[in-house]
């Protein structure tokens, strides 16, 4: 049963990954990419990593894909199609892809995997205490580094969005009117 589900998931992921690269309509590519990401979430569900699967769905499917769709909606017209690459480029890309597949397959088949019998479902409490533990094997340092990076990204985004208003030092009322017009366009 699990084997069948795994093969179905793997097959759909490969097919949609290829479709995402081959499609000439930009939004269709994005949707095929969404199916690939949802397939990865499915694999996580299959091996009982429920938390990671839900994170995959919220962050990638719900967050990143929606952002990409937004940018496509803003810049792309429905009748535009992406141009086809020159034959030489296609051949080079094909060879590069085959090389990559070769390296990956070679590593997978030569590597000596150690099968771990794991019947425990990781609970969110375990993940939480691991994330904040300062002992050996804890993840407090990467956790803090990531939060600093996110804070920097948020401040950067706000400064870029404010743009000229920061230089001018304009008054409160002007700010409001600009925010209003900005959101009305949406």
């Amino acid at each position: 049963m699990e084997r069948i589900i795994f093969y179905i998931l793997a097959l759909t992921m490969i097919v949609f990954a290829m479709a995402a690269v081959r499609s000439r309509k930009m939004l269709r590519s994005v949707i095929f990419l969404l199916f690939v990401l949802a397939g990865i979430a499915g694999i996580f569900f299959l091996i009982d990593y429920n938390f990671l699967a839900a994170v995959q769905l919220t962050v990638y499917a719900g967050g990143i894909i929606v952002l990409i769709i937004f940018s496509v909606l803003l810049v792309h017209h429905i009748e535009l199609e992406l141009e086809v690459a020159k034959p030489l480029k296609q051949v080079i890309t094909g060879i590069a892809c085959l090389l990559g597949i070769g390296v990956v397959l070679n590593t997978i088949y030569t590597h000596d995997f150690k099968v771990v019998e794991n019947d425990l479902t990781t609970s969110t409490a375990d993940i939480g205490s691991k994330l904040l533990s300062v002992e050996a094997g804890g993840f407090i340092l990467p956790f803090e580094v990531i939060s600093v990076v996110l804070l920097a990204a948020m401040i950067g985004a706000i400064i870029i969005a404010k743009g000229k208003k920061l230089e001018k030092g304009s008054s409160e009322t002007e700010d409001r009117s600009q925010i209003n017009t900005g959101s009305n366009e949406i």
């Binding site: 938390f51 769709i69 429905i78 409490a125």
Partner: protein, 354 residues
Amino acid sequence: MRIALNITENIQEWLLGMMSETAANYMAMVIVALIYLGIFSVAGLFLVLIERRVAAWFQLRIGPNRVGFQGLLQTMADALKLVSKELTGTDRADKFLYNLAPYFVIISSLMALGVLPFTKEFQAFDINIGVFFLIAISSIGVIGILLGGWASNNKFALIGAMRSGVQTISYELSVGLSLLTMILLTGSLQLSEIVEVQKSGWLIVQGHIPAIIAFMIFMIAGTAETNRAPFDMVEAESELGAGFHTEYSGMKFAYFFLAEFINMFLIAAIGTTVFFGAWLSPFGITESVPWLGAFWFLAKTLILVFLMMWFRWTFPRLRVDQLLTLEWKYLLPINLVNIVIMAFIVWQNLIIQI
């Protein structure tokens, strides 16, 4: 893969008497899927009817009361009409995405339905990250709306879809954070355990002041996330025609329409589960009769649904900038402070337990 399928187990045991083990497994899955599809369509149809009757009641009208007893078959007739209608589409639209879009919306709400604990036994998928899974699934639905709006090749649909995207992404934060406030009390994301905790008092009583604030934020943000009035900029009739589903007709339109009502039901059901003790009866009066849990669950859910309809027919529609100001300048800061207060209350053990 070990899924805790409660109702499946019961059905499986019953089926095992009749056929082999594997066949019983597959049959149980099919039966559960059919049961949930049935709940989905029946709930959708009757919520539409309830909405129309409630709207009529608020406007001192009678509402649909001719087809069947008190109009009970009215929405069935509407559904039959929608099935028989011609499916139209715009010229030069992206046909593939246009046809795909309704399924995103409807599948995401159907998947969320499977997690809800109707009674102790009647819960299809008791996953250990229940609440988080619900939040994750509800973030997929907006993709269908964005796609539908863009693929229709219609500027009103596109504007409606963009508004919907902005609105849903913003208000998802508030829904998530207000549920997180309650998770501080339960200490578990699993819905069956959340219900278990509430046997010593519903969470809205246990968490008193911050819980009530969280509930109010949850209802506001939930109404906004389902794109209902007073937050229905997405399909503001006076400005955008019908918003993102302007170009949809027949059954494809009905999918969007049904999904909207099911989403309303879902928000009310999540509210019931997290704040009002799901299938637990008030003061444990019917604890000896387990199947009455479904009645209590539905009763509480319908009261919250009625509250959302009440919002709809009472408040005027907000502007887009007012909507975003409400979320980012009011709800989000209140929510963050509220989490800290709740953490303090749990730390000092100021919980009210019956």
